[in-house]
Symmetry: C2
Subunit: 329 residues, 2 copies
């Protein structure tokens, strides 16, 4: 398998490291190599395979993926022979951005695609899936929701026989960290500052705290697990910036906490701060993600896992890679 | 797919109901029919397919699966054409019993097997897997551990790229119910009686409370997820009958509870009552099952689900059935 990596930030680098770490396991499928890697500024490409460790070292030392200057991702993809695109460039929730172009180009050319890029999935889910189908390509996206917490493939594969009635979850570790800190009496601004200092929140935190990130994930679940045809703009979204210490104290008096819950079912598509009883799976504190999956036969199934992180997100990409190689074998 | 069901108690009946309920989904794989069903006393067989609803009704009304008297399960299996054996007869942890014979016979004849029968798996895991491999048959057993909680297939499929470092879990709802009731001040005997009245515990409860059931599950996880070659007799087992109200009160003073934990890793194989901090996933109360799966890349993944029940266990069999049909397609 020849892999092209689009985007070489934390997740792209983590994935390159995983390719190195898991080389023994992967070699049981035949040669697995990275033939191209790029970000918005530079790229490296070699049909014989790039050294994943050297790629990461070079990026960390010089800030560049390779010594070739980028024109466009499509140019790079057009110039190398590859089988799978791993699309992990930054999310653009307005237009889908370069990520959408890379995915469309690859699927059109019959290449399999693994992505954790929520923009293209939240904006063009149905179209991308049709494109994949028409070109006998596989599109997988486990890491786009819940990071290392297996949920997409759990629902579509292990629970294929179930009718999933609803999914409610904590899908944004940043918001959950802030709300957990507010449980301890911190006001919102101070909890946010702490999250930023710890590297959990961006300097512009709106993508997380306004519920946009959670809404993208709700859309992806709606379209994949529930086979709905919804877009980002269909989600009813309330963020956490207006959650007051008073509301949290009032909740605590009733043995409750406030959490940013994403909910999806055949009829619901919502992101909002909600009262959750202490001890309930959704009352979890800290940066973990969780999902409560209600099914017709198995009843409730609850899963917890790390929602973000270099290795954690890369592990979700690895699980998709192995699933593709199993199917292509 | 022509299915033979060995064992027609709660789980066998539940599975027949599931075949009926999910007929639309299943029909997308071509005709799926039950061609034989039997328990230790009687059987029904029809190459054209038995009516699952009538089978269950008849069993509930008359106590008999069909009007034909049993000689042996092997005789029935030898007399009908079938593709998959669903083996759900009672567990015999001493010898493997009839269940082991049904599974061996079917695998030898190249039939796929789905079982939740822990005896044969805990006693002859390696041999049965080799037999399956030699005869190009598939052996699946999701429901044997954790009921509706997906764990076997989660580890072997979704988390195939991970190195699972350890699994610690609550795998017996009866013990967990008893210990949870003891948290509320009940002595062991009274909690056990309550579990029996609610139908959670058998009149002879030793299989549950002595840790035997949990130990079987630990063996199955060790052999499947960790690819070890262990037997039931290799497990270090302590049950819950000697857990005293004093020990529980002492634990509560330190914000802890006592739970019957099964643990398995490359070196550990243990079932014992353990102190668990309140709020920890393993501190769960009631009859739910849970497992904490420690992995190298994804970190900790925790799953909760219903560990037993007519429909819940049948749902695990359904997931194996669909996986087999996907692979055979």
């Amino acid at each position: 398998m020849r892999i092209a990596i689009a985007g070489f930030g934390t997740v792209g680098q983590g994935f390159a490291e995983v390719i190195h770490k898991k080389s023994e396991l992967l070699s049981s499928y035949g040669p697995v190599k990275i033939v191209a890697a790029f970000d918005s500024k530079s790229y490296a490409a070699d049909e014989n395979g790039l050294d994943p460790v050297a790629l990461v070292k070079n990026k960390l030392a010089t800030g560049a993926v390779g010594d070739k200057k980028m024109k466009s991702g499509i140019d790079v993809l057009g110039s190398v022979g590859y089988d799978i695109l791993v699309e992990v460039s930054p999310t653009d929730i307005e237009t889908g951005g370069d990520g959408l172009r890379h995915i469309e180009y690859s699927l059109k050319h019959g290449k399999d695609v693994i992505t954790v890029n929520k923009g293209p999935l939240a904006l063009r889910f149905r179209e991308l899936n049709k494109l994949a189908e028409r070109n006998n390509a596989i599109l997988r996206f486990e890491g786009s929701v819940g990071g290392a917490m297996p949920i997409i493939n759990l629902c579509s594969e292990n629970l294929k026989g179930e009718r999933v009635k609803s999914i409610r979850g904590i899908f944004n570790g940043t918001c959950n960290f802030i709300l957990s800190r507010m449980d301890n009496g911190l006001p919102f601004e101070q909890a946010l500052k702490e999250a930023q200092q710890l590297g959990y929140a961006e300097s512009d935190p709106s993508y997380d705290i306004d519920g946009i990130d959670t809404a993208c994930k709700v859309v992806i679940l709606a379209n994949s697990v529930f086979r709905r045809n919804v877009k980002f703009s269909d989600v009813s979204i309330t963020g956490i910036s207006s959650v007051s210490p008073e509301a949290i104290a009032l909740a605590a008096d009733q043995e409750m906490v406030i959490r940013l819950v994403g909910e999806v079912s055949d009829t619901v598509l919502e992101v909002s701060p909600r009262l959750v009883p202490k001890g309930h799976p959704l009352s979890i504190a800290g940066t973990m993600n969780t999902a409560q999956i209600m099914t017709d036969l198995a009843g409730p199934i609850v899963i917890f896992g790390k929602g973000a992180g270099r290795m954690e997100t890369a592990s979700a990409i690895l699980s998709d890679l192995i699933a593709i190689m199993d199917r292509r074998r």
